[in-house]
């Protein structure tokens, strides 16, 4: 896609990301797959959370296989880059790994972060099941680091 050809589409990445948001909201698999193959495609941690909440394991596998890009916005993302031994490109992006999904899972155990009585959405059992499902992408050392970073010691013991 060239800037000359689409003068009003200067923010190409945002355009593709908006398309992804619509495709995900409509759960249109064909469109999701087409958009995810776009060279300008990227995801944010919020998008990972939506994927996890909707239990969209097929898409998660596809994202992990194709190494889509993750836009770094939070401090935690930079810590994860260090854990993954990854590189950040000029657009502040890095390839998505299972570690990113795990980090989102452990950071969003409950529906509401600030209400201890809110419903548990990602229980320890679910996280272990998720890890089991995507085990070929898991690097145990990184997984343990993520759990310890989130102070989920019981979960790390269960994983071991």
């Amino acid at each position: 896609m060239s800037i000359v050809m689409y003068p009003d589409l200067k923010h190409r990445r945002e355009f593709v990301h908006d398309c992804w948001t619509i495709a995900k909201a409509c759960e249109n698999d064909e469109l999701k797959l087409a958009i995810s193959r776009d060279p300008y495609f990227y995801l944010e941690r919020e998008d990972l959370l939506v994927l996890l909440k909707t239990r969209d394991n097929r898409m998660i596998t596809h994202i992990l296989e194709t190494e889509c890009m993750l836009l770094l916005q939070d401090d935690i993302s930079y810590k994860l880059v260090h854990i993954k031994h990854a590189q950040v490109d000029k657009n502040q992006m890095t390839p998505i790994k299972l570690t990113d999904f795990l980090s989102v899972l452990v950071a969003n155990k409950r529906e509401s972060k600030f209400d201890n009585e809110s419903q548990i959405i990602f229980s320890d059992k679910y996280i272990l099941k998720f890890l089991d499902f995507h085990f070929k992408f898991a690097i145990p050392e990184e997984v343990i680091k993520i759990f310890i970073l989130a102070r989920r010691f019981r979960l790390s013991l269960l994983f071991i």
Partner: protein
């Protein structure tokens, strides 16, 4: 999606693009289809189709604005004035 992808891959000029959008109006009822047409038009470098879609929605938006701007006589002049002019 295949249908949208195939017609976005077809080379076309502005007139054909507008006709294509007109012919596939039924697709534009769903947000996902609108999004898909915009995306595939951009990804397949079909500027005519992208512009035609944009034009179609601008026209729709103008129509909606026009309809929302039109007030009933009661709203425009007040209830008393409306009654006076009517009766």
């Amino acid at each position: 999606m295949q249908q949208i992808n195939s017609f976005s891959l077809t080379p076309m000029n502005d007139a054909i693009a507008e006709k294509t959008i007109e012919d596939h109006k039924y697709l534009l009822e769903h947000v996902e289809n609108r999004c898909a047409i915009a995306y595939f038009a951009a990804a397949n470098r079909n500027l005519s189709l992208y512009s035609a879609l944009q034009k179609y929605f601008n026209e729709q938006q103008d129509n909606q604005d026009f309809q929302s701007d039109r007030k009933t006589p009661e709203e425009e002049f007040g209830s008393m004035a409306y009654l006076e002019t009517t009766f």
